[in-house]
């Protein structure tokens, strides 16, 4: 479907326009046809009528002429007349002319000699002796012929007959004339639309225009004889006069005659009949137009009315409202199929929407609910006010199943588990949250009111779930970690229920417990950890002085000098206050953020080392590194960068790695420590004594120093066990060539004891608390070893 730039007109408008245009076009065509055919028919009729008119007129004139000739012949054959002429008896001649003229109603009687000199005439303007000045006519008579034609005599037009007078020889010319006037012309005409005009030329051609016509007035005469010889056109512009006459000259007089005869036809009746037909056509066209417009309006309404309803239905469907479509009127088969298509579309849409919403709420593999749908389902269930258990499950070793038996078996395993879950779950409400994590709810009966009974219920469920399952030809037994929580006893809302259920499950996973029952407050710790992680991420990104480096001096028991200090991170949060490093460092290690923390620490410590050196203070600063940090290539690069940047040596820095971290993967630790040692860094085993590490392994580590954990030092003065351990540790370390440092020295007794045992360095509140760099500078300036010795 093409899409035009401007919206097309509505179907109704198009249909109306088309119909109106069609009617107007056809009416116009009919009009044109009528116009042309009428025009040519009229022209033909006019031609025919003019021909007939000429014929009739000439016949009438001829008949009249014959009569005149008879009259004239009668006169000239009168013996008395002949005698009078022969004897030149003028008086007698005149009296005879008058007498004869009256008898035949002639208007003019004349007699001339053979040269045309008037002998006698009834017209006073033709006196005796005057030339009757029509030489051709006279000559014709002298040839013995009768002259008959229209002549202008005086100011009048006469139908003139000249005959020879024989006495018996040709001796004179006798003339008899009938004046031509409008009445006489009309007598000759039979058709009232045909008019004849006699004139001595066109108007304006001569100064003395003599005209006689059957037309009513002179204006009509002028208009008529100037008209073209046939109809020119039936069309006339508004305010334009239609052609009134057609006119042509009639070949009725001799060629040299000054009289011209025009025949004119009044065209008014043609125009009237044409215009009447035209008006009828126009009126009919108007009626047809009206009917067509009404008809097309109704048809288009029948067509568009269902379309408009369908448009509304489509909008409803777009809004997700699937309203009834039965009321759509089917006005045509096209609309019917469109409506059916619409209904079909609606059905399909509903189906697809259901499918999509199912997919949106269900796990595609197992058909279990997803997390959001689970919350929804639990919410619905919670409305019953009956307590129920939410049991979270984790498949132990699912990854191994996938790896060893293949993904397909893994999937089948999950499907089988899901099947069991659905069967056991209350109302089938069970969900899958991640690859190997599930949850379901369990009904609690009133008898199962104690925790022990509920644990028993969960255990029975677990037992059923753990039953061996047959997948193809493999018999598989899966083990679960499970945490459960009771609604509404332990959660106010379904959201909280799921969250706490997750906490319980995680606890079960971390503690490797098969079934763990959620305890109050457990989730608060969890929430706080999440919060702290969030804050830590923020402050590391912002570098907003919430994190600070503190330094705890290390005291050399042999020299009485402060030679080293341990860099300790401190976090002062504006809302939470002081956040202990144990908490957030552990979290950072668990979440993989420790690298970020350590790189911040490295940057700050090395800057501070530079500042201390600049202030003339020489201290070896130690940085705590986790196992992750050691193997972090970025940190290795960073340290090198910072050393160069601050113009420091590797020996200025000591890296402290806990015994536990070092011993987790001995081979890897060995490589990394060897690397750092080769680079020149000092290395120290931190928290020694709590890692239960094998001495043989410890002996391999390329470290310079061993730090005895403070748990052996804090109560060293009072506890004999600790004294033995510390003594043997110092002795052993010295045997291995390591220097020994004790941390957590808080009293003089401990100091003295350690000094006696030959410990190399001590660190603790008895020397100094950890402090900021500036405070350290100040403290060093005031430090006096005498206090310790004293």
């Amino acid at each position: 479907m093409s899409c035009s730039r401007t919206a097309p007109f509505s179907l109704r408008a198009q249909l109306l326009t088309f119909t109106a245009a069609l009617v107007m076009l056809s009416s116009g065509a009919v009009l044109l046809l009528v116009l042309f055919s009428s025009g040519s028919a009229i022209r033909e009729t006019v031609n025919q009528e003019m021909r007939d008119g000429v014929e009739n007129f000439t016949s009438a004139v001829y008949a009249r002429r014959q009569q005149l000739i008879s009259n004239a012949s009668l006169l000239v054959s009168d013996f008395g007349f002949k005698q009078a002429v022969a004897t030149h008896d003028s008086n007698t001649i005149l009296s005879m002319l008058e007498n004869h003229g009256e008898r035949v109603n002639a208007d003019l009687m004349v007699i001339t000699d053979l040269d045309g000199r008037i002998i006698s005439a009834t017209e006073p303007r033709l006196p005796e002796g005057r030339q009757f000045d029509y030489p051709n006519a006279i000559a014709q008579v002298r040839n013995g012929e009768i002259f008959a034609d229209f002549l202008i005599v005086g100011n009048a037009i006469y139908h003139m007959i000249l005959v020879p007078v024989r006495t018996p020889r040709l001796s004179a010319v006798a003339g008899i004339g009938m004046q031509v006037d409008s009445d006489s012309i009309r007598e000759w005409l039979s058709d009232p639309n045909i008019h004849i005009t006699f004139a001595n030329g066109m108007p304006g051609e001569s100064s003395n225009w003599i005209v006689e016509s059957s037309l009513p007035d002179l204006n009509s005469v002028v208009e008529a004889i100037r008209s073209p010889n046939n109809l020119v056109s039936l069309i006339r512009l508004p305010f334009q006069r239609s052609q009134k006459y057609s006119s042509r000259e009639v070949d009725l007089v001799s060629r040299d005659n000054s009289v011209k005869v025009f025949m004119s036809e009044d065209l008014a009746t043609y125009f009237e009949s044409y215009e009447s037909i035209r008006n009828q056509i126009l009126a009919t066209a108007l009626v047809i137009l009206f009917v067509a417009v009404i008809g097309s309006y109704m048809i288009s309404r029948r067509l568009t009315h269902p379309l408009i309803i369908l448009t509304g239905k489509a909008r409803d469907i777009a809004r997700g409202v699937y309203s009834d479509m039965s009321e759509i009127p089917v006005t045509s088969s096209d609309i019917g199929s469109l409506t059916r298509a619409f209904k079909r579309m609606k059905v399909d849409l509903v189906e697809r929407e259901e499918r999509i919403s199912y997919q949106a709420t269900h796990d595609s593999l197992t058909d279990l609910l997803n997390r959001d749908a689970m919350i929804e389902a639990v919410s619905v269930q919670a409305r019953d006010d009956n307590p129920f258990i939410l049991l979270g499950l984790n498949l132990v070793g699912f990854k191994t199943i996938n790896d060893t038996l293949g993904m397909e078996i893994g999937d089948e395993c999950l499907i089988a588990v899901a099947k069991r879950l659905r069967k056991l779950a209350l109302n089938g409400i069970a969900s899958r949250h991640s690859a190997d994590e599930f949850s379901l709810i369990l009904e609690i009966t009133e008898e199962q009111s104690t925790t022990a009974q509920r644990m028993l219920l969960c255990q029975r469920v677990l037992n059923e779930l753990s039953a061996p399952m047959q997948l193809d030809d493999i018999s598989l037994t899966v083990e679960y970690r499970a945490g459960f929580i009771v609604y509404p006893d332990q959660a106010d809302s379904p959201g909280q229920l799921l969250r706490r259920g997750k906490v319980a499950l995680e606890h079960a996973i971390t503690t490797a417990a098969p079934l763990y029952y959620f305890r109050e407050g457990q989730d608060q710790v969890h929430l706080k950890k999440v919060k702290i992680l969030k804050y830590l991420k923020e402050t590391l990104q912002n570098d907003d002085d919430q994190l600070q480096m503190y330094y705890q001096p290390k005291y050399n028991l042999r020299t009485g000098e402060i030679e080293k200090a341990e860099a300790l991170i401190r976090w002062f949060h504006p809302d939470e206050g002081f956040i202990p490093p144990d908490m957030f460092i552990e979290l950072a290690e668990q979440t993989g953020m420790i690298g970020l923390v350590t790189s911040w620490v490295i940057g700050r410590v090395l800057d501070d080392q530079r500042a201390l050196k600049d202030a003339g203070i020489s201290l070896q600063l130690s940085i705590n590194m986790s196992a992750q940090d050691l193997s972090n290539d970025n940190l290795r690069v960073l340290i090198d960068q910072k050393l160069i940047e601050n113009n420091l040596n590797a020996t200025d820095i000591c890296l402290e790695v806990t015994e536990r971290d070092m011993m987790t993967d001995v081979d890897k630790s060995l490589d990394l420590l060897n690397y750092y040692r080769s680079r020149g860094f000092k290395l120290s085993i931190d928290d020694y004594g709590v890692g239960y590490s094998a001495l043989s392994k410890l002996a391999m580590m390329p470290v310079h120093e061993l730090k005895i954990d403070k748990c052996f030092i804090l109560r060293l003065a009072s506890r004999a066990d600790d004294q033995i351990i510390v003594r043997s540790t110092i002795s052993m370390a010295h045997e291995l060539g390591l220097s020994v440092i004790a941390e957590g020295v808080e009293d003089r007794e401990s100091l003295d004891f350690l000094s006696d045992l030959g410990c190399d360095y001590i660190q603790g509140y008895f020397i100094a608390k950890p402090m900021s760099r500036d405070a350290l500078s100040h403290w060093l300036g005031e430090f006096n070893s005498d206090r310790l010795l004293g």
Binding site: Y62, S77, F79, Q83, E145, A148, T167, P168, R169, N257
Partner: protein, 229 residues
Amino acid sequence: MPERQAVRRIQSSVVALLSLFCADSFAESYQIRVTDMTGQPLPDAVVALNTSGYSSPAKTIRIMDQIDRQFSPHVLAVNAGDLVSFPNSDNIRHHVYSFSEAKAFEIKLYADRPESPIDFLRPGIVVLGCNIHDDMVGYIYVTPEGQSAAVTDKNGYASVSGAGELKSVSIWHERLSLMESEQTTLGAEALENYRSGDYSFLITVDPEVPPREPAGDHVHHGFGNSMRR
């Protein structure tokens, strides 16, 4: 009608013979032929000879008959004082008249009822008409004293006798002029131009009036060709 023409010719011959008898025995016979300018013979032309040796002829009765609504002969030359009888050979009435100065008269003729002859004393041309039949025109040439006259036949020949010296020849023909009495007179000298023999002349004249068409009157209408279907 050839029979009637034959009769008429016989009568004419009789008249000519009579006149020969009455004429001077010394008289010469002149043969004169009259033609028009194109050489066509002019019948019914009157040839009148004026000779010195004239002797007055005896008075005779001449005949001007009406045959087939025509005067017969068409032209009759008589001597002054001759009588002319007007019989009517047609079985219809005729009303013969003349308004000519030489002799004006009218005579109503009925078939088989002859009137008394009319005498023609004055020389000149008498035009004869019939008041009933306008087409009937005839002429009587009244020859003056001292002249002898004859009418040309259909070949234009006229034989006229004359005695003595030939002084002049007068030729009259109805078509010679619109004026009916006009005639051409040739003197002795002029005649020499027309001489064709000792006593014969071939005289050409120029008729003013064209020959009449035998169809009678016809109307010339002013109508154009459209009328002449």
